[in-house]
């Protein structure tokens, strides 16, 4: 244990003396946490729409102003013919073209039905999907509004009888930050823990000091602990600063206990630092370690449910994602922060992370030979 003390003392000296690195390690994730949630937002805004109003009636005017008043759409063209609207879509000046037919109002009143035509630019999938869906819901809203405004006697039998009213549990106002900020914080902590622990050990290989260590009586696990503990401390600092940024900037405050969050964080770091260690045992240069780390971090970021739901993935992909520590920790973060889940609620994910961590660390230790071949 005494040698662990001297190892830690040396590691912290090296880390703290490298002011530039320490600064980057702490400030860079904070900047990312400040910027990324602003951009990474599901709700699509500023969908440009070109309208062809062939009716020029009160109803068509009301309809158009309802669309623009929704906040999602931006009227970029009010044109005379459909081909003109379509050419705006072709030139990327509009995402949607909406055509209101002649006699829109007359037919609506007389025959109680009408059709509008919508052309959607589907190059950007999300925008197309959501834009179409928003427009649909505006149309159906408009539909019931004008019916309601008619005199009671004119109410028609086929008016919708069932109206769905939903409320969003745990996130009543669908505050997107509540959902995305904790997940982004997880990805930042992950990248730091995996990469820095891997680089640090490989740096000793590159400079050759690991040879010197190998002829000393230091035990394998003590050396590894001496390497992992400093990065665990650093990751906890980054995580804590991240929670502060989330609170000050995004008003994201954990409903659940901070103790549960920190217990989970430590278990999580056991797994991610283990992965870093594993990467270091397979790399003899920092460049190799960087390439390997990027491979894992990219997959983690894209597949662990930060932006898209894991549940909607095919089964084979879900099985793979099960083995990713961040996918579990992101779930834990969201459960604790939004729902206030306790240890027993997150037990499954916590145990999963611990098991994955055990595999990484055992594998790494077996692969890290003190007798260097």
């Amino acid at each position: 244990m005494r040698s662990l003390f001297f190892l830690l003392e040396k590691e912290f000296r090296q880390l703290l003396r490298n002011k530039q690195l320490t600064r980057v390690l702490i400030i860079a994730p904070m900047i990312q946490l400040i910027i990324m949630p602003l951009a990474a937002n599901y709700s699509v805004k500023n969908i440009s729409i070109a309208v062809v109003d062939n009716d020029h009636s009160t109803f068509s005017q009301k309809f158009i102003s309802k669309i623009t008043a929704s906040g999602y759409f931006k009227l970029t063209g009010y044109v005379a013919s459909y081909p003109e609207a379509l050419s705006m879509v072709e030139q990327d000046k509009a995402d949607l073209a909406l055509q209101i037919p002649i006699n829109f109002e007359k037919n609506l009143v007389r025959e109680n039905s009408n059709k509008v035509y919508v052309a959607i630019n589907a190059i950007e999938g999300t925008k197309a999907n959501l834009g179409g869906a928003y427009l649909n819901s505006i149309i159906s809203d408009f539909n019931s509004e004008i019916r309601a405004s008619w005199p009671a006697g004119a109410m028609i039998a086929d008016a919708p009888q069932i109206d769905v009213v939903s409320s969003n549990w745990y996130n009543p106002f669908m505050n997107y930050n509540l959902y995305i900020v904790p997940a982004i914080l997880v990805t930042l902590v992950t990248a730091m823990a995996v990469m820095q622990s891997a680089f640090n050990i490989v740096r000793e290989k590159e400079s050759g000091t690991i040879e010197q260590i190998n002829v000393t009586p230091i035990k394998k696990h003590i050396f590894i602990l001496g390497k992992l503990i400093p990065f665990m401390v650093l990751a906890i600092v980054v995580f804590t600063l991240g929670l502060l940024v989330a609170w000050l900037l995004y008003r994201v405050v954990s409903v659940g206990s901070l103790l549960v969050l920190y217990i989970s964080l430590i278990v999580y770091l056991f797994a991610t630092l283990g992965l870093g260690l594993l990467i270091s045992t397979y790399s003899s240069t920092q460049q190799q370690a960087m390439s390997l780390s990027f491979f894992f971090i990219n997959i983690f970021n894209m597949m662990s449910g930060v932006f898209n739901s894991v549940d909607s993935m095919p089964q084979w992909a879900k099985n793979i994602v099960e083995t990713f520590p961040p996918s579990h920790f992101i779930k834990i973060m969201r459960m604790v922060v939004m729902k206030g889940s306790g240890l027993s609620d997150i037990a499954y994910h916590l145990i999963a992370i611990a098991l994955i961590g055990l595999v990484f660390n055992t594998w790494a230790i077996l692969n890290y030979r003190k007798t260097v071949e």
Binding site: F6, K10, T209, P217, V372
Partner: protein, 246 residues
């Protein structure tokens, strides 16, 4: 004098390649033992086996009375190791390096303090105690690395080309350090490519193609090969080598 290193037919194979073949020799306590050979002759492999960095394929060896297979843990407390490439941490200071290595060898805080003072004085580095190692000239670094490698009082110190790239004056000073360590009873096992350094050794072994081709005192070797200096002895032996250097 009792032997502190004994090897018997010590061999290391990498697949079909025999890097070190049936090495048999003894080194006495306090002896300066030169280990010579062209690049690729198997010196480093042999040394790494003796330090416990590499498991031998066959043969026997004891270091400070401990078995090389079974007692590597005990061996590690009895040896020091230093090489041209692998030595100190260059991003911490001189005294922090001494403190670190002395600490992991289990020296007490008081001992560390005394040792640091003694070392700095011996090397005349008192004024550089708080200097980062990377800022020291190479020669100073190597002298410091040697002193650190024997700070914990090992029986044997292994030096792998310790003076590579160091100027002649500093090399001379380095050898003064080696002599003073040997005088205190530390056995010095040293590899080198400098033939003048070979002359400083009590005994010299020359490896060619993985086997020990000659082993004796520099004077006896010169007589045996009818040479005026070690350079000629080495050339006589090494020119017939079949292996290409690395």
């Amino acid at each position: 004098m009792k032997p502190v290193i004994t090897t018997e037919r010590l061999t290391k194979r990498f697949g079909d390649f025999v890097a070190a073949s049936e090495l048999t020799f003894e080194v006495d306590q306090g002896e300066i033992f030169g280990f010579l050979g062209a690049n690729g002759a198997g010196k480093t492999t042999a040394m790494r086996m003796l330090c416990g960095l590499l498991a031998p394929s066959s043969g026997k060896a004891t270091i400070a009375g401990f078995d090389i297979y079974e007692q590597t843990k005990e061996i590690k407390t009895k040896i020091g190791y230093m090489s041209q490439k692998f030595s100190l941490y260059d991003d911490i200071t001189v005294s922090e390096n001494i403190r670190f290595y002395a600490g992991i060898y289990g020296m007490s805080t008081k001992q560390i303090k005394a040792k640091t003072h003694e070392l700095l004085e011996e090397l005349q580095l008192e004024s550089e105690a708080k200097t980062l190692v990377r800022e020291l000239p190479l020669g100073w670094k190597q002298k410091l690395a040697f002193s650190v490698s024997i700070a914990h009082g090992p029986d044997i110190v292994f030096l792998d080309e310790p003076t590579g790239g160091v100027d002649p004056v500093t090399r001379r000073q380095f050898w003064d350090l080696i002599y003073s360590a040997a005088d205190k009873g530390v056995t010095v096992f040293v590899t080198t490519h400098y033939m003048d350094e070979a002359e400083y050794c009590n005994r010299v072994s020359i490896m060619v193609d993985g086997v020990i081709a000659a082993l004796d005192s520099p004077n006896n070797l010169k007589q045996q090969f009818a040479a005026t200096n070690m350079e000629d002895v080495f050339y006589e032996l090494a020119r017939n080598a079949k292996r290409k250097g690395d």
